[in-house]
Subunit: 210 residues, 2 copies
DNA sequence: ACGATACGATACAGTGTCGTTTCGTAAATA
DNA sequence: TATTTACGAAACGACACTGTATCGTATCGT
């Protein structure tokens, strides 16, 4: 912060280079993994020289860490007053996010690289997974206070029921060419009313069946 | 097959070496990934010489492919006459399987390595994911024929609802130390009866209704 | 015993990568 | 202009890895 005023002599650093390098690193990590990515490739993709990279980061690991730290999926909480529409918007934004090939592959790469390294794992969880959690649990807690949810439903389990199917869908969809898109509305209806067959119409929210 | 009878002259190959090498390769892939694993490490872990490996496989890729092909999670279909107990047994076996650290990390490694390589992806899907699918869809179709399931529930969506939450749970559990174990029974009850709050006792009371 | 094959240990060539260094040039300040 | 720093291009040393080759030994059939 104090450095911005004190103009050091000599040619200033190219400000665009930093983000160009980090973006290139992220794309290459997504494509080839941390091991498969070379610093030369990062330099070539970013359009800079390798010298420029090593002037900014001491080694490859530091570059990777900063690139991965910069990668934060934009997830937020919704508060429309209705849990069903909150969840619908949340899942829709999650679906849009997971439709990005970069985010898809990057997430898998990070998950597989991060396991077994406590520090990386802690940082990744705190930055990328935890916000997702709190956004979801906030919505659920608000709905529970409004009486929109079964009182005996465990919050963690409800979160897993909401998030799991879509994540699972996107995971297996990567291997299938003719997979049907995830129907968020139908999913919420089904989870809301239950999988059991109807005997009587207990609630008017049933999705127009029989 | 015909080679087993025709005994070639000379010292026969060590039959144990094959599985020792493939096992070593699998463990090393799980720990360090395909790129991180070296053939020398495989040889050292398997207790054989590198010559022995290259006499059996032409290159590293062939070894990796055969090792990954050999890795087939043992999942089967259940037919107890009740969908709820079928699913309960299915999920319990899936949970036991995903509790193995080797299978956990190997699955993530494979997922991240396999994406973008059509042949690998096809083989992995056919060998490891597809059996899971058919086992689950068989159980669901039988239940649907018995009228145990809502008629308007899409099979693919039901499969995702059943499998997704547990897979998601195991995924995030890798980053948490104090996570509650997945309660399969409570999960099935919740999904079966729905998340909506009870208004009148149209059916029994809670999970124990028919 | 003898030939044939497998094995372990080791060395090797070829390649790729990391991180450093050199050098000529560009862009800033004093 | 003189100085100071950043930059690109290129080369470099050190190291790891792949895949091959060599050599002495072990184990099988005949």
């Amino acid at each position: 912060m104090t450095e911005t005023d004190v103009r050091r002599p000599g040619r200033p650093r190219n400000a665009q280079a930093d983000s160009a390098i980090l973006d290139a690193a992220l794309h290459l990590i997504a494509q080839e993994g941390v091991h498969g990515m070379s610093v030369d490739e990062v330099a070539a993709r970013a359009g800079v020289s390798k010298t420029t990279i090593y002037r900014r980061w001491p080694n490859k690991d530091a570059l990777v860490i900063e690139a991965l730290t910069r990668f934060k999926p934009p997830l937020r909480s919704f508060d429309t007053g209705s849990l069903r529409s909150d969840i619908e918007r949340f899942l829709t934004s999650l679906q849009v996010m997971l439709n990005e090939p970069l985010i898809q592959m990057l997430t898998l790469r990070i998950l597989s690289e991060v396991v077994g390294r406590p520090e990386w794992s802690r940082v990744y969880f705190a930055d990328s997974i935890s916000p997702n959690f709190t956004a979801l649990s906030d919505m659920i807690d608000r709905a529970r206070a409004r009486g929109e949810l079964r009182a005996d439903a465990d919050t963690q389990l409800v979160m897993e029921i909401f998030s799991g199917p879509l994540v699972y869908h996107m995971l297996v969809a990567m291997f299938l060419t003719d997979v049907k898109p995830f129907d968020t509305k139908a999913f919420i209806d089904l989870v809301w009313d239950g999988l059991k067959p109807f005997r009587t119409d207990s609630s008017g929210a049933s999705p127009e069946n029989t």
